[in-house]
Structures are given as C-alpha cells and as structure tokens.
C-alpha cells in the first residue's frame, strides 16, 4: 500500500443532498477522493451509493452541495462534460448497449477520442480510417486484458451476466479515464473471477495511476483492495477512513457489517 504514491485530492464532494419527492436519497454527504487511491463506498441496500455516483456523473442533479473536480467546482455536472474531464463509470444494473457486439460496445468508450467528421467517416478514408484502426488496437488490448476475445463479435445481450459486467468495465476503461467509478463490478462473479477482477482493478490503478471509486458489497474485496472507505446509511455518511478504521467503527458494524465480520 505504501508503495503507491497517493496524491492530492482530485475529486471533492461537498455536502451533497439529493431528494426524490419524499425520499431523501442523500443528506449532506461530503467526502474526498485522492489521486491514485482506491476509494470504496459501502453501505446497506438503498443507502444511496449508486445515487452518489449518479450525482458525480451528472445523471442526477443534487438539490444541494457541490462537487469539485481538479480544482473546478460544479453544482451540477453535465454527463458529457464529466466524460470529457476523464471520469469513467460502470453501472450496477448493466447499462450496456444490448444490440451491439462486444467490440462495438467497448469502442463507444473511445468515441470522445474520435475527431474525424461525418463525411470522412462516410468515405472511410485517410485520417478516419487511421483513427479507427488506432482506437481499435487499444480496444483489442482491453479485450485481451479482460479475457473476452472469444466473444468479441457477440451481441452483448446474449452474454451471460458476468461477462456483461466485464464488458461494462471494458467500456469504461476504453475512455482512459483518470477517475473510474465502479458500481458493484463484481456482483455475480465467483471467487476466482473476483480475484481476477481485483487484480485487474489494481493493475489499472497501479499501472495507469487511475483513481478508483468502488461500490461493492463483498467485504473481503473492499477490505483487501481499498485504501479508504466511505460508509453510507440511509443517505447519511456514518463512517470514513481506512478499512481497518471502518471495520472497527461501531455504527458501521450495526448498520452494515453485522456481527459476523
């Protein structure tokens, strides 16, 4: 852990509140994420974890509070801006492009990198062609990495659940983000697959220095690979700190971990 040089705060969430009619999904949440770290968000079901990511992502607009990313402060993020600034994301309830093949899904992650205009694309000559191949190459690396070569041309809708999760990750990776938001990336995987996935996340984190924000219910995973953990419960923050600190926090134990851990 010490080998990593965790940097300054890259993403700072300040007193975010989010309401849906009567439901208070988030109440006055603040936490920060430092460069290069693996930051986990945990909490019981319906605690507001996914909603938190949605706020950062610009899918939801928080009713109060602001988010600072690399020194710039936003009260509302716009999805496209967020993507351009280098925040990638996977989804809890699979939000893949069902009708597209694995390759195409991951290629969409590189769409921001494609600059040639529609005419060039239609003619598919010169720069457009070169750009396509260059991006394709990157994507093939990701595919190799995720070990889904065999399914490259399969429409993702036909893949088993677990593989779909990998494709989702691949798509986020293809964006080459600085911050990667992962919403339960390991749900529906067995231990062996989870180990691979952990290794993978850590590799990305270590090799590219990507900052990771991770939501996960598998405490083993969270405790093993994260640097710091935020705990939410009913939309409120009830804990924040290193895995060990959190593990010993009374509130966290009663609200989430239960006694068996």
């Amino acid at each position: 852990m010490a080998s990593k040089n965790i940097g300054d705060v890259i993403l700072d969430v300040k007193s975010i509140s989010l309401r849906f009619g009567g439901v208070k999904a988030l109440t006055d949440i603040s936490f920060d994420v430092r460069e290069h770290e693996v930051r986990a968000i945990i909490g019981p079901n319906g605690a507001g974890k996914s909603s938190m990511l949605n706020c950062i992502n610009g899918v939801y607009t928080p009713s109060e509070g602001a988010i600072t990313f690399r020194g710039q402060t936003f009260s509302h993020m716009n999805s496209r801006q967020v993507a351009e600034m280098g925040i990638g994301r996977t989804f809890q309830n699979l939000a893949l492009f069902k009708g597209m093949s694995v390759i195409d899904n991951i290629m969409t992650g590189r769409n921001l990198k494609i600059k040639s205009n529609i005419l060039l694309q239609a003619l598919r000559i010169g720069p457009a062609q070169r750009e396509e191949f260059a991006n394709r190459e990157k994507v093939e690396h990701i595919i190799d990495f995720l070990e889904i070569q065999a399914f490259r041309k399969t429409p993702v809708g036909q893949l088993p659940y677990g593989l779909q999760k990998r494709v989702d990750l691949g798509r986020a990776l293809a964006m080459e983000p600085q911050v990667l938001l992962l919403d339960e990336p390991m749900a529906g995987m067995n231990v062996e697959e989870k180990q691979d996935m952990c290794r993978f996340i850590l590799d990305v984190n270590e090799e590219f220095g990507t900052t990771i924000v991770l939501i996960e219910h598998d405490m083993g995973v969270v405790m093993d690979i994260s640097d710091r953990v935020v705990v939410l419960d009913y939309g409120k923050k009830i804990g924040d700190g290193t895995p060990d600190e959190v593990r010993d926090n009374e509130d966290v134990i009663t609200a989430y971990l239960g006694t068996s851990h």
Partner: protein, 274 residues
C-alpha cells in the same frame, strides 16, 4: 450444519440429459442432468457463462422468450414431463423462478409487484398473510412499499423479486443468483429465509449462485457446471472440502483464505474437461 435428510427422499425434479439451443444455432447446454430431491436445497455452481441460468430457464420454461429451446433430453417434475407446460402451469404446480437481473415490474409499486406475485392465489387472507411474511423478511421493502419499483435501489429490487416469487406460495423455487447486489447482512438473511422455508414449509430450492461459500454452506447437494456440462457433483459438504473447489470457487488454495490483493497474476481458469 444440519444436513441430515430423511431417508431416500422422493425426486421432485429430474433433469435428464437436456440440450438447449438459442436462436437455432447456439448450443449452450450439452447434456445436463440433475436431480432435486423433495425438500432439499440444491445448488448449481459454475463460472460466468457456464449455463446455470439456462438450466433454470429450461426447467421453468422461460426459454421461449429468449428464443431458446430444449432439443434433447427430458425434464420431469414429480414424474410428469414438463417441457411443454407453460410457465403459468408450472407456477400452478408450485414451481416459481426468481429471474436473474431482478425484472421487477417497473411501473408498479413495490406492493403492487408483490401482490401481482399472488396472482395465482385466490384466498384473500392467505395473500395478506404472505404479504406480511415478505415484509417481515424484508423490512426495507415495507418502507419503500409505495415507490414504483423502477425507482428503488438495486438491492431493493432484488428483494422485491424474491419476495414476489414467495407470494406464489411455491413448493419449489428456482433462485437465480439471489445474493447478487445484496448487502452482506441481507445475503445472510436471504439464505436464512431459504433455510427457514426449507425446514419449516418444506419448500425445495434449486439455486444458481456465484457466492459459492454461502451456497455450499446452506445447501444439501451441489452441481458444478462448466461450458454447458455438469463436471462435478456431490453432497455440499464434500464439495466444500474438495481441493479444486476450494481453490477455484472458495478462493482458499491451500486451505487459507487469500487476500484479494495478493492474487499476483491472472489465473488460467481450470478446465475441468481438459
């Protein structure tokens, strides 16, 4: 752990060498056989894409909507062939599936979702009692009862899907990845419910699960699938002690639980049939 089953329980479900093809060309199950004794909990384990979901779909006959079909083999429920029954017929016979990926009715509220689950039940008091039971199992659902299902969190939807299935008063439940997306406490809770229903109401369970640890802890018997075939089966306890299973499904190569951080390289998936 209490695994003493009554002597020679009758076979409730007998899946015999089935093959399943999707879209007329994709052969997914290549001869799967398994037996589920009455009143037992049987787990199907296996990696992503092994065919667990497909097996459950074949039993509950939900393949049609996926453009899949059983092309070989037979499936018997209490000795009766069921390949050609509709899912509704099966629910009437007490077999209900909890689908992978939740599939709640998005526009209906949580409570309406649950009540719809009781479509086949006619007795009002029974429905009310079942509803209460589900709410006691999942108090979280009670607090969200008037929300439209689409606007609840992933875990809440998962609870809703399980609760909805329980509302049919099943005698056999096909559970597809019940633990997915649930907080650890709730996972435990779900398995306790399974156990509870199993012991008290003699409900039989066939579950596909990735959380091998939990699954083997609570079930009586297990099948391990790989690429559309059953590659190993045995009593849960013996599976849990099998070295291969330990290494690949329980993450305990050498008997120790390894830190996720310490997995140094990507594993070559074990090919059981190599």
């Amino acid at each position: 752990m209490d695994t003493t089953a009554p002597p020679a329980p009758a076979t409730l479900l007998n899946v015999n060498g089935i093959e399943v093809i999707y879209n007329h060309v994709i052969l997914v199950l290549k001869g799967v056989s398994l037996q589920v004794p009455e009143g037992s909990i049987v787990a199907i384990l296996g990696g992503n894409g092994a065919g667990k979901t497909t097996t459950l779909r074949a039993v509950s006959n939900l393949l049609q909507g996926e453009r899949g079909e059983v092309t070989k083999g037979s499936i018997e429920l209490r000795g009766e062939r069921i390949e050609n029954l509709t899912p509704a017929d099966l629910v009437k016979r007490g077999v209900v599936q909890v689908m992978e990926g939740r599939h709640c009715f998005a526009h209906l509220t949580i409570e309406e979702n649950l009540l719809t689950g009781a479509y086949t039940r006619t007795s009002k008091p029974e429905i009310a009692a079942n509803l209460e039971k589900v709410y006691t199992y999942f108090p979280r659902l009670k607090t969200r009862r008037t929300s439209q299902a689409a606007y609840t969190s992933g875990g809440e939807q998962q609870m809703c899907a399980i609760g909805r299935a329980l509302m049919t008063n099943p005698s056999m439940v096909l559970l597809d990845e019940p633990s997915m997306g649930l907080a650890p406490q709730i996972v435990e809770e779900v398995f306790n419910i399974v156990k509870d229903l199993n012991t008290r109401e003699k409900v039989t369970f066939l579950l596909a699960e990735q959380n091998t640890n939990m699954a083997l802890k609570y079930s009586d018997y297990g099948y391990i699938m790989e690429s559309g075939r059953v590659v190993m089966d045995g009593a849960a306890a013996s599976l849990a002690n099998n070295e291969d299973v330990k290494e690949f499904y329980l993450g305990m190569g050498g008997g120790e639980r390894k830190s996720f951080k310490d997995a140094k390289s990507y594993k070559r998936r074990k090919r059981w049939l190599a």
